[in-house]
């Protein structure tokens, strides 16, 4: 997938190119057993609730996978999805164990290997559980039916008299009459494609789904045995350090490598825009890179940390309407009150603790690579394009990934590594330093949201004009039942001085902050309670139920909770899930420092496959969200990124993470919805509102820093 397509996909959910896979080749490689092939595009399996907030069509989702019951009775599940901490390696196995009636420990998840696994566009958008789970269950049910058929012949017994249990087919009347999956598949090679929606187990019969399960990869991770890309050490491998410009857009004026070249064993590459020093000792490679003297032409800065918002408003030159109902101009004219404000959000880094890395070697004319990527297949394509070799000459292998959050969709490091492996003829590792990570991250974009709301004296919202600059419309569809709504998205090609991209629930963190702040401002202008005001304007029963659940769990009575203390509410919709967050904070009025005291998060995510995993994901999202709400901001002057490490980029830490309570609207027979992204979108709005109710400071710009709070109080 091309970079601009990925970018588009994230912000607009536009068409995704469908790539066909060569099934015959895959199956040839897979060996014996019972193999179930499944693909969403070949069979319309309804996997979403009717009111899904996303507008993807089934045809756009090209999820494919294979399930193989091997001759030894173990089960391999092949998927192009990857595990980066979101826990799908566990939750997918759980679903498979449930439907196939096998123990969890007989399942082997093969993930993100471009030769073993079928094509997948990428692990993003909280799609894995939503779209993959129902398919996996269907495939398992199909396999179960096939096994039953085989057993019926072998045991000479009607199918109706048999049942599946713990990897065996057992007679319902005589427990001694049984045959294992392994015996049934031995010497067989049966390939089945899902043809019709099979019979799935009902929620009340679940043994594994819905039960808390500890991650299957936990032992590897606590013992240091989990292998990440930069942990791979190949014989004869060179560590590469690249000479980086001081700013994006800088041109190399001159380069003197003489001092670097005099270091024994150093390889210097200066080709095709790549300037690198390589050595089998990374410390020596780095020293050589530092000793290369480069002079650069730096383009004039057009914007900086302060001026970027004005710059965005002036340079965004394209717009489109993403939602329109009623007549917003007339609605505003008729409104008894109009409340207007602008909301700002600075650039945010993904800041995964694992930096981008790639390790590669040529085996003959074929490149074998491990890469910290959310898009193994996209990486394969990008690398093949960069080297101008056929796709099948690149093999990306399965590996643990140390956090992604959208930042590892883009894989410049893989291209650098592939080129250097070819140029040197040796195995090469490119593992970015933290400085490189900040420089080449595709930041969550700085954005401006201009909101104009009309409201009647009785508290009913009558008009809502929402102009989004640089954040995209994800999750912005009105759920306040406002009769007159217009939402427009403004963008421009040359707005940002560096690359921007998808950051955990793209765009939705910014727009939910703007909307939920503004809802509070409007309620406050009428002297109404922010929770009652929301209930008055929301009709959707699911959202009302989730809001009520949050209210009860928190024990909400009023937004002001004590001296310098207050709580804030934010509602959001993302990836099919409804989120309500109530956050309580204490603000020191002298210093402006915010101390989060408590967070209560209620969600309707349909069927919760792994409640424990869903809680872990929610806690993680909320904790990460405190960072963007309160601390995180990329400082820059033009293309020069001045924030280079964690000494100047504060993320949430232990001491600021309050008790977090997660509750779910229990709906086990509903399709599962997104879990990795949704919760985080509500943190900015809830914190901004809590700060206001605690101390009276309304801060319309994230991060909500002590300085901004003191300015708002002044």
């Amino acid at each position: 997938m091309k970079e601009n397509q990925i970018h588009q996909l994230y912000f607009d959910n536009v068409d995704r190119p469908v790539r066909s896979i060569n099934r015959r080749n895959f199956i040839k490689k897979l060996g014996g057993g019972l193999i179930i092939v499944f693909s969403l595009s070949s069979f319309a399996f309804k996997s979403r609730s009717e009111d899904d907030h996303d507008k993807r069509s089934d045809e756009e989702l090209d999820l494919n996978a294979y399930l193989r019951i091997k001759e030894d009775g173990t089960v391999d599940c092949y998927t192009g999805k990857i595990e980066m901490g979101q826990g799908v390696i566990t939750s997918l196995a759980q679903v498979l164990a449930e439907e196939l009636e096998i123990p969890m420990n007989t399942i082997n998840m093969v993930m993100g290997d471009t030769e073993l696994c079928p094509y997948d566009a990428g692990t993003w958008g909280s799609l894995t559980t939503r779209f993959f789970d129902p398919l996996l269950r269907a495939a398992a049910a199909e396999a179960k039916a096939e096994l039953l058929k085989l057993a019926s012949i072998q045991l000479q017994c009607a199918e109706s008299e048999l049942m599946n249990k713990d990897g065996f087919i057992v007679s319902k009347t005589d427990a001694k009459r049984k045959v294992s999956y392994a015996e049934l598949t031995k010497g067989q090679k049966i390939v089945k494609t899902i043809s019709a929606p099979p019979k799935l187990k009902k929620a009340e019969d679940f043994k594994t789904i819905g039960k808390p399960i500890i991650s299957t990869d936990a032992i590897k991770k606590v013992t240091g045995q989990a292998v990440y890309t930069s942990d791979i050490q190949l014989p004869g491998m060179l560590y590469a350090y690249l000479k980086r410009p001081p700013a994006h857009g800088a041109g190399l004026k001159s380069l003197d490598v003489s001092r670097a070249q005099s270091i024994p064993g150093v390889t210097i590459i200066n080709e095709d825009g790549l300037v690198a020093a390589l050595h089998n000792d990374p410390l020596i490679a780095e020293e050589a890179m530092v000793k290369m003297k480069a002079e650069w032409d730096i383009p004039e800065a057009k914007a900086d940390t302060i001026s970027i918002f004005e710059h965005i408003l002036q340079t965004a030159d394209s717009s489109r309407t993403t939602e329109e109902k009623g007549n917003v101009a007339a609605g505003l004219q008729e409104a008894e009150n109009i409340v207007e404000a602008n909301y700002l959000d600075g650039y945010k880094a993904h800041a995964s603790i694992e930096t981008h890395a790639a390790t590669a070697k040529f085996e003959g004319d074929k490149l074998v690579m491990w890469a910290s990527t959310q898009t193994p297949f996209g990486t394969r394509e990008a690398v093949a394009d960069a080297l101008n070799i056929p796709l099948e000459k690149v093999h990306i292998k399965q590996i643990f990934i140390g956090g992604g959050f959208g930042g590892k969709i883009y894989n410049q490091q893989a291209i650098e590594c592939a080129k250097l492996a070819r140029l040197t003829g040796k195995p090469v590792q490119v593992a970015w330093s933290r400085q490189e990570e900040f420089m080449y991250d595709w930041f969550r974009p700085a954005a401006v949201v201009k909101v104009k709301a009309g409201v009647q004296n009785n508290g009913r919202l009558s008009a809502w004009n929402f102009d989004i600059y640089c954040a995209g419309p994800r999750g912005t569809q009105d759920f306040y039942n406002i009769p007159n709504v217009k939402t427009q998205v403004f963008n421009g090609k040359n707005v940002h001085p560096f690359a921007t991209g998808a950051w955990r629930a793209p765009g939705n963190n910014t727009t939910t902050f703007a909307r939920e702040s503004h809802i509070d401002v409007v309620a406050d202008s009428l002297g109404m309670d922010p929770l009652e005001f929301r209930l008055l304007n929301i009709e959707d029963p699911k959202i009302r139920k989730t809001l009520q659940l949050a209210k009860e769990t928190f024990g909400y009575t009023a937004a002001k909770t004590g001296a310098n203390r207050g709580c804030g509410i934010a509602i959001g919709a993302d990836a099919g899930t409804i989120v309500v967050l109530v956050a309580e904070v204490e603000v020191n009025p002298e210093t402006g420092v915010v101390r989060p005291l408590r967070m209560v998060c209620a969600q309707d995510m349909g069927q919760v496959v792994n409640p424990h995993g869903a809680i872990v994901q929610t806690e993680g999202g909320l904790t990460m969200g405190l960072g963007y709400a309160l601390y995180e901001d990329i400082e820059f002057t033009g293309g020069a990124v001045e924030t280079q490490n964690f000494d100047t980029y504060d993320i949430a830490k232990f001491a600021v993470t309050p008790p977090i309570e997660c509750v779910f609207v229990d709906d086990m027979n509903a399709p599962p919805q997104g879990g990795g992204e949704p919760a985080i979108i509500t943190v900015g709005g809830a914190i901004a509102n809590a700060v206001y109710h605690a101390c009276g400071a309304r801060v319309n710009q994230m991060p909500i820093t002590p300085q901004r709070i003191l300015e708002a109080l002044a």
């Binding site: 606590v222 240091g224 990460m624 490490n645 964690f646």
Partner: protein, 159 residues
């Protein structure tokens, strides 16, 4: 280049290195122990935390010569055979890791903390762990894990 000798996970090792070489990279590349991770290189994230004579230290800011003759423990040296260290076991029980990349540093920092203060309050755990970063946001689970590991090591039960 010099030969530098120290105890690594209870075995004496001798390594050919420049005395100023950064310990993190010597451990990872010369000694092949890749459980200790690079995260920031300036001591701000804690992914590279190891124990030196039982005390948690950042290996990205240490020269290898600083550990000459001393006892170094990395994440690989914590379990005894298949028997996990109580802190490791507690991390598993509390699912205190997501992507797992910061986990070795978190565990080593926690073990160092408990070496100094075997019976810490929750506040002391938070304070002692505060400079280790986790982007997945597992702080609360890690705090719980360290708290119950401390209890277990003091003879209590690991819930």
């Amino acid at each position: 280049m010099e030969q530098i000798s120290f105890s690594l996970n209870n075995k004496t090792v001798k390594v050919e290195a420049n005395p100023n070489d950064i310990l993190l990279w010597v451990l990872r590349t010369k000694l092949g122990l890749t459980g200790t991770k690079y995260g920031c290189g300036i001591g701000f994230c804690g992914s590279c935390t190891i124990l030196v004579d039982g005390e948690a230290m950042r290996s990205c800011g240490m020269a290898v010569s600083e550990v000459a003759g001393r006892q170094v423990t990395t994440i690989e040296g914590l379990a005894i055979g298949d028997k996990l260290h109580p802190v490791q076991e507690s991390f598993v029980m509390h699912d205190a890791q997501q992507c797992g990349y910061c986990t070795p540093g978190m565990i080593m920092n926690a073990v160092g903390l408990l070496n100094n203060n075997p019976n810490p309050s929750r506040e002391e755990i938070i304070e002692g762990m505060n400079e280790n970063l986790c982007r997945c946001g597992s702080y609360r689970r890690i705090t719980d894990a360290v708290e119950s590991a401390a209890k277990q090591m003091n003879g209590g039960s690991n819930k």
